[in-house]
């Protein structure tokens, strides 16, 4: 009975989706807004990566909302584990020599790559979220290799808060200088250079640090409270 209901519901959902998607002319003519971004994106924002020009310039407020959602998620994980009793970490089996040696070589490179991804977010694919996630995966590797070590929670909290404050602070500065929240008030510079696109690299650096610290903290909460 329940299975039949599930199949029926799925069929209704699939039909609805198919009908809705059938009306969209995929791959043919682009809508007005998309055409505007493609034609004027580089000139208006200075970012050669058009995805970034949408994420951090045209729709920067949405990105602030996204960052807030991730923050709330990290706080939620922290609250769940805060209620638990302090962990009693017995001696653990050491990681194999391959993992330990590999992590020594790879961790600095992963960190460097993460920073590269968010610093070049306005030039090449990637940005704050991707770079932060890469950094957090490096922290995960560190946890796998050095099982007795713990993260410095206060430092992570400071990095997270500074990233968030920088994002909102730049938004407020834009409000003060040119009248709209999160407006790009710095000079656009010459496209394709590292120091171009106005406030976009600064915001992406803030987002990268914030996302990296938050995801690393979620991993740390899960690993350390065992």
């Amino acid at each position: 009975m329940r299975k039949a209901a599930a199949v029926l519901l799925l069929a209704v959902l699939a039909t609805g989706l198919a009908l809705a998607l059938a009306a969209i002319p995929f791959g043919r003519d682009k809508i007005v807004v998309a055409n505007h971004y493609i034609r004027n994106g580089v000139r208006e924002t200075g970012a050669t990566n058009l995805v970034t020009s949408v994420v951090l310039d045209y729709r920067a407020l949405d990105t602030l909302g996204e960052v807030t959602i991730l923050f709330v998620a990290a706080v939620g994980v922290g609250v769940i584990f805060f209620a638990e009793r302090p962990p009693q970490r017995g001696p653990r089996q050491a990681a194999s020599a391959i993992v330990v040696t590999g992590s020594r070589v790879l961790f600095p490179l992963i960190l460097l790559f993460g920073v590269y991804v968010f610093l070049h977010g306005h030039l090449t694919p990637g940005g704050g979220f991707q770079g932060g996630a890469v950094i957090a995966s490096g922290v995960l590797l560190l946890y796998l290799a050095r099982r007795e070590q713990t993260l410095h929670r206060e430092a992570l909290g400071v990095a997270e808060s500074l990233g968030g404050l920088l994002f909102v602070g730049i938004g407020l500065l834009g409000l003060a200088i040119s009248g709209t929240f999160l407006s790009n008030f710095l000079a656009k510079g010459q496209p394709n250079l590292l120091l171009s696109a106005g406030v976009i690299p600064i915001i992406y650096t803030a987002v990268g640090v914030k996302v990296g610290a938050e995801l690393a903290r979620i991993i740390g909460d899960l690993v350390e409270r065992e």
Binding site: A133, S137, L140, L215, I219, L222
Partner: protein, 79 residues
């Protein structure tokens, strides 16, 4: 490219079905990571490298680790 994409989609669907069928949740998590990895490759083939990067780092990397750690703290086998 079409052949490659077809193969990838087929493997992806198989991994997605496996995710829901496996009773050992650790196996299900690995199958789920495979779905994310293939989705990331498909995003790259479809000229969306930004999304591909996010999917590979978060979907295939971090969420797999978070699921695995959560399973270690709870039950490994589905009742």
């Amino acid at each position: 490219m079409t052949v490659l994409a077809t193969i990838l989609v087929a493997v992806m669907i198989a991994a997605a079905v496996a995710t829901s069928v496996f009773k050992d949740l650790m196996n299900a998590v690995i199958a789920c990571a495979a779905v994310s990895l293939i989705a990331s490759a498909l995003f790259y083939l479809l000229d969306a490298p930004d999304v591909a990067m996010a999917e590979a780092a978060i979907g295939a990397g971090l969420s797999t680790a978070i699921f695995a750690l959560a399973i270690r703290k709870t039950e490994r086998y589905e009742a």
